[in-house]
Symmetry: C2
Subunit: 205 residues, 2 copies
DNA sequence: TGTACATCAGTGAACGCGCGTTCACTGATGTAC
DNA sequence: TGTACATCAGTGAACGCGCGTTCACTGATGTAC
């Protein structure tokens, strides 16, 4: 029965978990190398050993986020009874459940764009978006890209507006009891009468 | 011919101008009260006199941004020869010309949500979005809100993806020479064949 | 027209804070023989 | 099976930095009479 052994054993994972706790609880601004060390119960100099600097840690965290995001998108769109916009619904759901993490994932200024782990995870996850329903294309036409972007921008925009609190004003003038989800469904119903749908493209984003 | 008079005369405006310079040149992270004072050539304690704290300064700056944003949206949509999506084009154009400012405007974590100047300017600007073409409604149905949101989310999403560098991947697999603007037009053309259009709502957002 | 006084705008030194980073260290583990 | 040694993981004190904030101050302006 050893208490607080000198070697942590899985400090990298521990620090990532600690970092996510801080992100959820205190927000991105509070997430520093020292704070992560404190939360994980190790000395403040330990994180540098595993991540180099803060953008290294944030990039790893974002990569992990993209992996989970991708998994949720995948299971939503590939379920046998999945409906047309379930990818978009999963997109919003993930962001709602992990607001700070989602913002980190798309907030380029804090991430290391050269981090291979992040690049890989992002490409995987965002590739799913494009590839939800049609056959993949290696060299899409501008028209095909327009369709892909239409679906992506639509749900990404809705999600960002929601995270930044911009939907509150609309909900205030909406019929009593209207929820964010109801707004989403109303928007999707509008889009559903047209061509704004996900198309397939060969991985990349 | 007086050089560096003790009283600046218009320090508040001077500090806002300095702050925007820093925002454009060095990014949001570099924008501190001390940096703004340095840029404006006054002592570091001066800004607190006018703005209280940093979120006060940032909120004023965002408010000014919304005023200019609103003016550009207005002139784009109310020109006699304006086309259907000119509001959306102006939306993206503003963000492209003022990327850091645009992100600040929509990045709620740095702003003071109770700042009346900001609230007013934001409401004015975003109200235009909803009110681009149809007659205003005081109590819109959920369906009407869905339409409004469709147009807004579409262009906001496109804009955020562009600012965060997410369109680069798409441009890499696009036909040679494709520009961001071409992607936008392709997306709008897709949307143009349906009901995803701005509708009118009585100011608020 | 002048003078006294209050108010306002900006100064500059000082403070404490949390941060990232460095560095010599020590405890634990793995490996060669 | 044991021993020597290299390597790895984490420690803790120390450093310098820029930040926001406080505070006594001073120069400039406005106002009352």
């Amino acid at each position: 029965m050893k208490t607080t052994p000198y070697h942590h054993g899985a400090l990298k994972e521990g620090l990532l978990a600690a970092a996510e706790t801080i992100l959820q609880r205190d927000g991105l601004a509070a997430l520093t190398l020292r704070a992560a060390a404190r939360e994980a119960g190790v000395s403040h100099a330990a994180p540098a050993h595993h991540f180099g600097d803060l953008s290294g840690l944030l990039s790893e965290l974002a990569a992990e986020g993209f992996r989970r995001f991708g998994a949720q998108l995948k299971s939503a769109t590939q379920a046998t009874d999945s409906r047309r916009w379930d990818g978009a619904r999963a997109y919003l759901a993930f962001a709602t459940e992990n607001p700070a993490l989602f913002q980190l994932m798309f907030r380029s200024d804090r991430l290391d764009p050269t981090n291979p782990s992040l690049q890989e995870a992002r490409m995987q996850a965002l590739g799913l978006l494009a590839g939800a329903s049609e056959t993949p294309v290696d060299h899409p036409t501008v028209e095909q890209l327009g369709k892909i972007l239409g679906g992506w921008a639509l749900i990404h925009g809705f999600t960002m507006l929601q995270l930044d609190g911009r939907l509150k004003g609309l909900l205030r003038i909406a019929p009593e009891g209207t929820t964010t989800d109801a707004l989403l469904e109303a928007m999707l119903a509008t889009a559903d009468r047209n061509e704004l749908a996900p198309a397939k493209v060969a991985r990349d984003a």
